[in-house]
Symmetry: C2
Amino acid sequence: KNIVILGGDGIGPEVTAWGNDVLKNIAEIFGHTFSFQNELIGHAAIEATGEPLPDKTLDACKQADAILLGAVGHPMYDNDPSKQVRPEQGLLKIRKSLGLYTNIRPIKIFDELAHASSIKSEILKGSDILFFRELTGGIYFGEPRERQENGEVAIDTMRYSKMEVRRIAEKAFEAAMTRRKIVHSVDKANVLESSRLWRETVNEVAKNYPEVELVHMFIDNASMQLIKDPKQFDVVVTGNMFGDILTDEASQIAGSLGMLASASVGDSVGIFEPIHGSAPDIAGQNIANPLATILSTALLLDISFGMQEESKAVIDAVDAVLKEGYRTTDIAEQQTPKDKILSTDEMG
Amino acid sequence: KNIVILGGDGIGPEVTAWGNDVLKNIAEIFGHTFSFQNELIGHAAIEATGEPLPDKTLDACKQADAILLGAVGHPMYDNDPSKQVRPEQGLLKIRKSLGLYTNIRPIKIFDELAHASSIKSEILKGSDILFFRELTGGIYFGEPRERQENGEVAIDTMRYSKMEVRRIAEKAFEAAMTRRKIVHSVDKANVLESSRLWRETVNEVAKNYPEVELVHMFIDNASMQLIKDPKQFDVVVTGNMFGDILTDEASQIAGSLGMLASASVGDSVGIFEPIHGSAPDIAGQNIANPLATILSTALLLDISFGMQEESKAVIDAVDAVLKEGYRTTDIAEQQTPKDKILSTDEMG
Ligand SMILES: CC(C)[C@H](C(=O)O)[C@@H](O)C(=O)O
Ligand SMILES: CC(C)[C@H](C(=O)O)[C@@H](O)C(=O)O
């Protein structure tokens, strides 16, 4: 199996190094042959080549069996909105080029980490949500997206086709059949035409899954309900932008962004990545939490390689480490000093 | 002073009736003359006239000194995305017709109600956020918004002009000068062209307020930070859709949506309304919480009539009632039965 590692920016390379190491160990223990290839993306790629996604990177990804990604983004662009070449373009382009229309984000509370959340433990206990975020459509890709009237006006286009909605809705319903059989579809159909198409299409797909309960929810209400009563959700399916917002918000249900893995899949090869960003403020300090990346390798082994046992070995290792009280700073209990605080390398 | 009351749908008429009563009492106690006129909007207006915002309503509003609104929306439209005439069109049209480009939503934790929130009390204590949501632009109004390719595709347009961003940013900075002097501007400038224009323009406005600290935050991060650490926020300024999402989410900081008032202002007359929706599930049961509407009358008295003392009298009355342990069901402490549970009418 050929795995491409895209460290990217900020803490990305620090955490993917440990993801790489975990995969190496899994190969050794279970007798597989994994080969690894590091490529550039994001700001790191711009610095080296002028491009946020060099052809060499894209070609390597197209030939890979799976891709492990760190994070993309750098504050120098955020503070200068006029920059034409931007790290995130690399991320959006690779998602689009590889046809990764389904972003899967499992949000599960690790009981040991409930204290790290700002939400009350009794509200969190038992939460287990599987998000399906559409990843190659919506306002992230719709055209036109441009300046008009001498730069005094800017527009973006939110666009969805029935085909795009149907294929991700089907994935969500399929997943719900293996779980609690509830799908929440989130949109803003009381305002947006694209959301009305979304809702119509999800209703059509739902007809093929009579056992699954479908609940439509407006995005404003969903962003409140997620915090108010997370246990009501099983599978959530939504568009690109609403999914971006809800899944980051949902990190508070899991205790910390530092624990959350994601899989982006579609027609062929998949990308596996932590949902935290490049965190430039803590980059290079050996304090970033590598567990989200390590849990992303578990998703990679399961989804791309069909290696359930290997995947479980990784998850069990993370569980065991947490049970023994080992923590990186982001998930450490502040009040009681009983946690054993580890660096990135030690945790890895 | 001439006040138009738009009860609207669901629990709207129940709660505005009490807002009306409070305003009547204020007039009597403080020796003012207020006249009241009830008009139709939303589903109620569609039923009666076929239009979500009849001309009669709009004309009355244009001549009013202030408008008190209940809520707009009915589930029969939500479940049928193909309906062409919809209650929310009335709300969007009145906002646009009256030029109400600034939606102000104060989010303050009532200490007595901290228990009603799903967020830990120690995280909430001391939170005090003033939201400025742009209300007549963005993806709510951009054109085109239509079906294409035989209905297989739908698009909406997110559009902002520098003028639109500048005028709301100025309001936000002015407000920050009277508070803790921090403005968080929320956008998605790493993806959207309209957000890059937003960020540029806010940066320009900020130059006139050197004492105010400006923090740019991406919407995904903001939706997380709001729950993780609400106290970091003072004034938040953002676009129409992001503001819709964040302010509903922020209701969990105040303990309940049932307590939150809002003001929509712009060039002339303002609309004052609770931020909760029409809540059709509890309509007609005399259990809705009228306090958000009553607090909206306090905003009305202050902002539209410059009656600070009268406004304070309303707020003090709400405080006193809460201190004495009176609650509607939505804000009642579930564990301890010491709260005195009231109906809508009793609370009013
Ligand atoms: C970096 C950014 C473009 C990206 C997104 O918005 O999709 C990120 O927030 C994510 O969720 O993967
Ligand atoms: C009812 C709906 C159109 C409205 C909006 O999205 O603006 C509501 O959610 C609000 O926030 O006032």
